[in-house]
Subunit: 335 residues, 2 copies
């Protein structure tokens, strides 16, 4: 929806397709159409993906095999944490130490506390399992990887874009605060940042984007270990930690993604001030929110516990004003 929204100013029309059902949602509407695969392939100039994994069916396979879906090489590597880690190692990009799930015993011996992660499909903390020294030993599982637990100061993320012409653009590093494994708040730009971190993160991104010949926005989650910066996870799509850019930057991540996919100029994005994004998790809509400070984005989805129902963006000229705006939302919590 937010990509379709961002397309309007560019004169770029974005329709949405369910890869499971083949239902086509035109633009920002909830009306449904069905077009056959050939029509889909001829009608659109570019095909993009806004989730981490895709079903394996004839529709998806046809679309992904098209040169209009430039994401094929990326989808062959990144959705599997094992091949993602191998790529990071190959490029010499710092990441938390890891071993394949079959080497669980060796990993515990080497690092003590470890975290087991599903190779595929983990999202918002799902598929992640912490093991402390002394915990019972589960069966080694080739569908997982094992990582050393990391002592980090905080989680950061970088949004990077690369266009079909090879141009690149980077957003400032942001700080992410999670609640129960789900992103709760992003602050942008990240404050008290070690001076070398921005350039270091951009270099990591540059290597990844070029290696994958990637077009579009990529989000790179990083552990800030003060001196060190370790890649935690890479998402080849627009990302929740970039939602602040809608009002907080001169170009939103959604617009940047479309520019990159369609070969339009990228132009370096600038932060407009002190920004933050807060997710609205598992709450029902309250129209009274529209009186409050901040920019509400509501997804109009059915309420479910912990579900991302919408988000609020805050922009302020200074950190104190930002804190005051956010404080006006303190009472809004999942009931």
């Amino acid at each position: 929806m937010m990509l379709a929204e961002a397309g309007v100013r560019l004169g770029v029309i974005v329709d949405r397709l369910s890869p499971e059902t083949g239902e086509l949602f035109p633009g920002t509407s909830d009306l449904v159409m069905h077009l056959d695969t050939d029509t889909l392939l001829s009608r659109y100039d570019a095909i993009t993906v806004e989730r981490d994994t895709m079903p394996d069916n004839a529709l998806v396979n046809s679309l992904m095999a098209s040169p209009k879906a430039a994401i094929e090489r990326t989808m062959a590597v990144l959705p599997d944490r094992l091949t993602q880690k191998q790529l990071l190692d190959e490029l010499g990009i710092a990441t938390s130490p890891w071993l394949p799930g079959t080497a669980l015993a060796q990993a515990r011996e080497q690092w003590g506390n470890v975290v087991i992660k599903a190779r595929r499909g983990g999202y918002d903390g799902r598929g992640t399992h912490f093991l402390r020294t002394g915990d019972a030993q589960p069966d080694a599982d080739e569908n997982t990887i094992v990582e050393a637990t990391i002592n980090f100061r905080r989680e950061l993320s970088l949004l990077a874009a690369r266009s079909s012409h090879g141009d690149m653009a980077f957003y400032p590093l942001v700080e992410n605060v999670h609640r129960d494994g789900i992103l709760n708040v992003t602050r942008a730009p990240a404050q008290q940042l070690a001076p070398q971190h921005q350039a270091r993160a951009e270099n990591m991104a540059r290597a990844l984007l070029e290696k994958l010949d990637y077009h579009g926005i990529m989000a790179i989650e990083l552990f800030d270990c003060s001196d060190e910066l370790l890649v935690n996870e890479i998402s080849p799509r627009v990302h929740n930690s970039g939602h602040w850019t809608q009002e907080g930057a001169t170009i939103s991540q959604f617009e940047m993604h479309l520019r990159a996919l369609t070969g339009l100029p990228l132009k370096p994005p600038e932060a407009k001030g002190f920004a933050a994004m807060r997710n609205l998790l598992g709450v029902a809509y309250d129209t009274g929110w529209l009186h409050r400070p901040g920019y509400v984005h509501w997804y109009a989805k059915e309420v479910r516990p912990g579900r991302k129902m919408g988000h609020v963006n805050f922009i302020a000229p200074d950190a104190d004003t930002l804190a005051r705006q956010m404080a006006a939302w303190r009472d809004v919590t999942e009931t």
Copy 2:
């Protein structure tokens, strides 16, 4: 399109209907669907109009007769300049002196230079005809009105909104600069404004919105005669002179219109700085524009001389920076 774009953050879906052909364009898409009139009337919570006149056909008549189209009373009065003028007179709202087109001779005797305007369908300077003392006398025409020409300093406009709950919100007065009768540039807020003008314009708007029991955004074009403020024209819809609000105000006119139509809270809009909007008239798209300062909004329509092809919004912390940004676009003119 820009209403559909603005609906996303509100969780409000906007589909677009051609009143001539009955083609339904879902959301921001160019895909076409057809729904019968009963389905249209049951699917949507509100029906709005984004042009000055509507064809007289069964589809339009059915939709406009629905209580969901709260604009019926307004459309019975405003699109006809004669009844519009009568309403202004009835409410005691200052406007340029006028007479029905049948009283042309009397008007010329009384005021000398006059302007003849078509009662219906005039737009962007079309249907307007200036008559100086000494010009040949055309036939009196009951489909026109005659106005005294006014010595004004500049044209201003006010955007005002009223919700289905009766709440109202007003934008700051803006200054409009035309070229060949077509809006070229809007500057917001208007500078060097007489201190009483904002309140005076809001009072005029309040009287009009309440009298018409109007829901949505209304644009009121005014002649700034230094001491006096005269209403020139009223448009019951989102308006080109309000496009600056997309990046220039905390709530865009498009979002405000949807809030007003759907009974959501209005919240007073604030200008974010010194803003301007420049129309892109009759020019072909140049992707290089995306490198320039300013926010390009491109409508992806077929190029025609003088046609509004898109617009650029500028926001700056001060007037000098704004002028510099706009100067970077000086070379872009219709060829």
